[in-house]
Symmetry: C2
Subunit: 321 residues, 2 copies
């Protein structure tokens, strides 16, 4: 279902990649120039900044960097809907805390309860589900969900300039990973169909899977009951754990991505980090909460470049005309 | 250094791959036939067992499956040598337990102390090292280490038939991962140069890395102080965590690989698992401790095939003639 919805988007990007302009949705300016200069430099075998193909690792944050995260943070919206169906099936009680607060969207009550604790309780409501059933639920959610302002499924709100950039990185021999605080199983459920990034290249917050051998000797993988968080300094640490190389390209939009961008920017090889700045409330949203540290990094470090959505992007989504 | 040592080996395999026989070190027999039939079946787009390329995941255990693990388990030998240098530098006391027992190779004392506890203490002796310094130490160890019977560095004792099989899997569009109980940072330090498998495709027992920001704002990754074990049912669980797909090819040599092979063998797609059996004390070693459960799986399940080193392998190592 997701595949069908997204075909036009992928097609559009593929067509763009074949055109003379490799980044048609990026306006002329320092950000676009920094990207093209960086790609030229690290792929020129005769140049001083050449990086062998196998060391070209790119990491891109998901929510707010690759797709729209406003007004609703999509991974959590999915988790609350799934928990509601688990409550309906009697797995958890919808009247007990913190489930009552999740269902009512009562953020004050969640804060009072303790957000981290409340979040782990949400995760626990899926414990014992098979990883396949969880992914099926995620795809079904995405197919029926509509963005309150744009009226399309969330998967159609990947940013066109970032999709073009992903294609250009891949065309330059990069392996591109998504590194997100969002739930790994959720992002994996659709990302390959929507963006072309396979499950092994998704690093998100994860629940250690549980091996389960049935009576007949067959094996299923079930969801565990505790989430390991992939944000802030855990992002670079988990990149080291999972990839084993320091990325030479990173993109993020908030303080949550600052450590990842700093690690990339302070390595021995030439690198580029992008700070995607939400300053366009006409075509998307304008907000700067939780961006002071990544903004400071961009101001201080020449390898970390600010991308203004309003100034640097000729288009934001594939859907607009 | 490692690169140089292994070039003849990689070259040999590359030459073999171009020859008419794709598995020259495998003798005619049920194991070889099972491999070739499996590869034909899953790559034939017109066949009922076709598997799309992106879903062709192969996992291979390292110690005892891919390279020789006798008489000395190489990852531990390295760790003890590294700990000795840390003791010499004053990081841990060589006279205190369990370090004294590690240095003396006193297995009884380690058992009495508690092996798991003693192992974590060994790991803790590297806490705070940069991941790069750890990898450099590993490569230096491998370059100077000589196998007590064969007189060559451990990296020259990768099994030639398995290297050929790895090449053949890759040529059939498989992504090949090493899934090992050995320390991930150790295996990553040499595997790309020796076998051609990059660091992101190594899943081993790991120590969660620690993000460290220096005074000048640069970032280094340091080793943490506790090991997460990747053996038995943790292998398939970590494959789900890291790769996110059920493998359709698995190879192992002991009970430690049984769960991984069972998961692969009981999936919806056609699959093949190999149990590498050490029954050749002329060319390698003969031992069957800790193999009863994987042997039972091979006896019971048609998708799990026994490979007798004595019967099925025409050659064991590149070095013999």
């Amino acid at each position: 279902m997701v595949r069908h919805l997204m075909l036009p988007l992928l097609l559009l990007v593929a067509l763009a990649a074949r055109a003379a302009d490799p980044l048609p949705s990026w306006r002329e300016g320092p950000a676009r120039t920094a990207i093209l200069d960086f790609l030229d430099a690290v792929t020129d075998p005769a140049g001083a900044d050449f990086v062998p193909a196998r060391e070209r690792v790119a990491v891109i944050d998901n929510d707010g960097t690759f797709w729209c995260e406003r007004p609703e943070y999509v991974p959590t919206a999915f988790q609350v809907q799934l928990m509601a169906s688990r409550a309906a099936a009697g797995v958890v009680s919808p009247d007990s805390m913190p489930y009552r607060a999740w269902l009512a969207g009562d953020r004050d009550a969640l804060r009072e309860y303790g957000y981290d604790e409340a979040y782990q309780a949400l995760i626990r409501s899926f414990a014992g589900m098979s990883v396949e059933a969880f992914a099926d639920s995620a795809r079904a959610f995405l197919a029926r969900q509509r963005h309150e302002r744009f009226g399309v499924p969330p998967t159609e709100l990947y940013y066109l300039p970032m999709l073009e950039l992903h294609g250009l990185l891949a065309a330059h021999g990069f392996q591109v990973w998504v590194v997100t605080g969002g739930e790994q199983g959720f992002v994996r459920s659709y990302l390959e169909a929507v963006v072309g990034i396979p499950p092994e290249r998704v690093i998100g917050s994860w629940t250690p899977p549980v091996y389960h051998e049935e009576q007949d000797g067959t094996v299923r993988m079930l969801r565990g009951d505790e989430q390991v968080y992939n944000g802030h300094e855990h992002k670079p640490a988990n990149i080291q754990l999972r990839i084993g190389r320091r990325p030479i390209f990173a993109a993020g939009n908030s303080n949550n991505d600052q450590a990842m961008c700093r690690w990339s920017a302070t390595g021995p090889q030439r690198s580029l980090s992008l700070w995607i700045r939400h300053d366009d409330d006409v075509r998307e949203y304008a907000y700067d909460r939780g961006t002071d540290r990544i903004a400071a990094l961009a101001a201080e470090h020449p390898r970390v470049v600010e991308v203004s959505m309003a100034r640097d992007w000729a288009r934001v989504f594939a859907r607009e005309e």
